[in-house]
Symmetry: D2
Subunit: 384 residues, 4 copies
């Protein structure tokens, strides 16, 4: 391909955390350039944000509808190739639908939509559109998560028996949503977040990580949710039991009131022949256990890795890769796929989360909320 | 006191793991000497074991009944002061009962008895006997577990909201009980272990640690037990949801098939003002989190500890204390209490686990098994 | 500023490790775009590399001289603003000199030059040119290195007494330079590396980190260098004693034959009131010790940080920042300075390594080699 | 053997740190009983200390001379078998000499003596006496130190090239010796400590650990000592370069003013085929690196250990062994040797530090002090 892909952003104006992350992640591998944006529903704010990003005025739009229609009119040599949607949850579905139906590929933040119905519909829209859709379950971009997945897939661990997964944060330990903190206010608001609080924000990452690494689906779950923050309607804490499709059992613990925790996403997977352990906050080691051998610790670009892990490491062993790099891998794999499509090439197994993962995430939220309503009774994900 | 206490041991013959641990733990602080033992139900084996421990022949007994009656006949200046019971679970009740009723204090390994009925009865026997009874929930002997308990008790963490506890082992990942491994064979046998497998062997430690540190009782639990080893009747794995008496929620994960895990007992406690984290395999640090301060890590005999922690540290900071030292603290505190009793002194708050803890442990096992039978439905501990 | 800065690259063709790192680092913060390059001394290879980076053919040059003269001729609205020099050491001086004297700012990889004479001259050329010059001592870009520097500067640690610094790698444990490995072959070759091997490649990073964090200059050093790889002329290992200008003492250990080490750069600084410890391979924690308080561990964007650390963190606490982010901070601070210059604004204290640091690095190499020649006798850095 | 060994202690009265450690360590394995002591040069204090240890009055002596002569007169069935000397350094030689010449075996704390001359003489006295002598370089008792030694001895690491060793403490960061702190006051006093401060107290442990694990002697060293505490005559800090007999090079860093460090003894050994790393404060893991395999971490009683490590582990994997257990291993191996001698059996390779190690330690101190006097010039250990 003789040029970079052109990205238009929806949301992510000045001061936005996740918009900035998406831009940085998209830029790292030099395959994508930001060419336009509808950074805010206020045309003025969108303009200010766009200028700070060195965009020309005429490509800073006041609404996503405006952006999509105007970009469509531009000559092919100029117009954006895809949109990145980085708005709160309730503003995912409409722009995604419009973009896809207007012929643009889409990158969308998670959870995929506000409701399960939207998710199911969006999956259909993607299919119908023939366009590509990536959901930023960014943690699956880490080299050692790829290694973990490959080890399970290759049978190194044998049949999986037990799983522990957690995603613990503490930033909602106090009532920060009442202090005007923007990140907090929409996350505790069902209108913008949907029926899940911590469930949607971080629980879906935990769910996705379990299914990604083990290749197993969660069959049923029992969820005991907490709403510890005064006046909170949505869950800010959850303790779950899991039963996987193959008979493995496990626990999931998620929280935004686990005081002092930053982004403690971690997973342990125990099999009949081996086990593994990975921690997002220290992502450059994968700890493995074996029946008759000492503990082995793998590092990115280190010894004895599968190609799946080696191929996504950007830098030599011992130079830590972090959050942005993993996030960038989602963009890189998506961009590679888009480029292949543009050049009418075929990619065997594109490796990034899709609308299918988005639907799983929404089902997870719905199943957990339902289980909690019934005093943590077992609830099957397929019933949603 | 002008002499050491005299200990008689029941069980713990040559090759026994836990008998050796009890002897070492009892000897560390120089307050206790082993004077006699019924190390095996075979008189010959008992003799061999006793000789290897430098005991005189006449104090190596072929049964606990024999030991208790013969020792009782000895002059006060010679006879044992207490028995240490280190047999499998089904052999705890009878010797404990006989010893107490014969006027001897008792140290007993956990879980306290084979059945809950026995436990309830034993608690009564202890009370009636006026003798002292210690249950070796040894992990509560670590200086930093004392520190954790003191921090919660002093309100440093504020109201407790969330708990994570786990005790993970992997040694039953394969069918070792079929290879003649002694430790394994009785632990998977309901006749010798009772109705709980991993529940009794390690789950009770987890339960005890939670209640000891938080000062909160588990109100109800939902238990999803696993029996992964082929042909196993008893649980070798368990995933539990916990609800504490104050409204805190949590998870407990226990396993003996978590391949590669050695003795991964760990606990996290999250409060409204602070949180803490302790790992048995690296017991010399207590990690704490705070709303507006950096992470603080405490070490035994290090800066800023409560007296409860300082008073049980034996060695200067930076010299690791381990399993035996913590175990020894149970013996030390018990011995101190016994000595005080002998000298007719009063000890304000003796700090070691008692029959009351033993009953809690048995109720925990029964509640978990019951919950599991009902597909992990919520089960109240007080109903047992 | 209404546009991104335009970067031209010298060296860093396809397959180059460090060229790729510079490009990624330069792109992360969205302030810089790559517009041209002389990626190889072969015009053809340069073209191929440039195309893979989506550059137009006419801006892929066959030599740095060509690039500099052609770019100079371009209209100001198009031409590059600065060059990034990512060639082996012997190819730093000439392009840097030409670029500066042609009116371009320069970013240069370390060590600054092949010889100390070149370094001294280059520092003068920079001064005379009025252009900006950044040397990529990238590790100083980590938020917690900034925090460490600020803590020392603010006197939190009191007078510094003791330092330990190390940079350990193992990749030259075997004779990889004989296998055609490109990275290895020039690094063991005095013509391309200069008189220092590991000294120049990683020792200068260690030296720079010590002086950056402590704000103290190394006064004298005693160096015992090793040449363990068969046939190696340059050092591949070094053990040094350090004496700082304030009387503090320390050790430095560097190696490229420390088998199994990846990029183990680490520093400990002990003062009269506190001490600190930072590890490059786990860069998201800064461990500190205090006279009467427990260990405190700081994290990027976590509690209680100085502004110097907060201002360079890009993402919320608990999301690890790595090698590329720290590298990017050098580019970001350099770009901010260049932009300010273009807009005729003044920046109080630009925070990136300069030619002055480059001269210190070369003096360090020369002093260490001289000391080693004299059987590790004390050698003063100022004598060079 | 049909009885425990009988130990008499010299020094170690109430309040003594190291005396208490020796008693606990001696008791753990049930092979040794304390039967008498000269715990203080004050008869009264000795009596008080002895009583607190449940000793009969008649075996609490007011001087070591008294103890040795009186014990000698006791019948063989009662009298002590060996003495444990736990006094400050200047009080090691005389009691050791008298005990040996009176027919008693000796356990002695390190460094062996006040002066090198005494050490050389004591080694001769031991040889002449035919009695056994153990020096408590306790850290060599850890299972994973045994594993490390065995790995080097078996060639797993190949030829050793590089060593890093450190023993860092911070407890003399302030002038605690002026506050009446007993541990500090004698350690900073040349009359009681000898010519080495930190060198003797902890440097000898570092020296011993290097030579024990690598099986290589330090050939020469260059030492830059610090005396940071106001008014201190003896070193409280040291930075050293090492050259081993086989050409390996290394650094040693010792300190008692490394603020915040507790007992940070650590060693790294790099060979041509593998490398290893061990930390005293977290002694239950041995980290190893390999050319083409991932990092392997060994644990006591874990997978793939040499017999040398397995045979000294007392408890199952995952239950941490600490300082006392390692210390106890010195006593256990010594006691086993004494018992064998009493029974006229032969032990192939008794594994505990002896007078030979004591002489090495004193030579190390003398060489380091001499080197420091000559501005850290290279000094050969064999010249002393």
């Amino acid at each position: 391909m003789s040029r970079k892909l052109r990205m238009g952003m929806i949301g992510g104006g000045t001061g936005s955390f996740i918009g900035d992350v998406h831009r940085k992640a998209a830029s790292i591998d030099g395959m994508i350039e930001l060419v336009c944006g509808a950074f805010s529903s206020s045309a003025e704010k969108s303009m200010t944000s766009g200028k700070a990003l060195y965009l020309p005025e005429e490509r800073c739009y006041g609404s996503f509808e405006d952006m999509i229609s105007k970009e469509k009119e531009r000559p092919e040599s100029e117009r954006m190739d895809f949109v990145a949607i980085v708005t709160p949850n309730h503003m995912h579905f409409s722009p995604a639908k419009l973009a896809l139906e207007s012929g643009f590929h889409v990158v969308c933040d998670k959870p995929m939509t506000l409701t399960l119905d939207e998710a199911v519909e969006l999956e259909k829209i993607v299919a119908k559109s023939g366009k590509l859709f990536a959901l930023t379950h960014n943690y699956t971009g880490h080299p050692l998560v790829k290694q973990a997945k490959a080890m399970v897939a290759n049978g190194d661990l044998g049949t999986i028996r037990k799983i522990q997964v957690q995603y613990l944060q503490g930033w909602l330990s106090t009532a920060v949503e009442k202090t005007g903190q923007k990140q907090a206010s929409w996350r505790v608001d069902p209108k913008r977040s949907g029926i899940g609080g911590a469930l949607g924000d971080i629980g879906t990452h935990a769910e996705n990580l379990v299914e990604y690494i083990t290749g197993l689906r969660i069959n049923e779950l029992a969820a005991d949710l907490g709403r510890f923050g005064e006046g909170r309607i949505l869950d800010d804490d959850g303790n779950l039991l899991l039963r996987m499709e193959n008979g493995a059992k496990g626990t999931m613990s998620i929280s935004q009131i686990a005081l002092g925790e930053e982004n403690n996403l971690a997973i342990k997977v125990y099999g009949e022949k081996g086990s593994l352990e990975w921690h997002q906050e220290n992502p450059n080691q994968l700890i493995t256990h074996w029946l008759e051998q000492p503990v082995k610790v793998f590092t990115p670009n280190g010894n004895d890795l599968y190609d799946e892990a080696l191929s996504v490491s950007r830098i030599p062993a011992g130079h830590p890769e972090g959050y942005l790099e993993a996030f960038a891998t989602i963009y890189k794999n998506f961009a590679t796929h888009v480029m292949a499509t543009l050049e009418e090439k075929i990619i065997e197994k594109p490796d990034y989360p899709t609308a299918k993962d988005g639907v799983r995430g929404m089902k997870f939220i719905y199943a957990a909320v339902e289980s909690d309503k019934n005093n943590a009774s077992w609830t099957k994900m397929k019933e949603f």
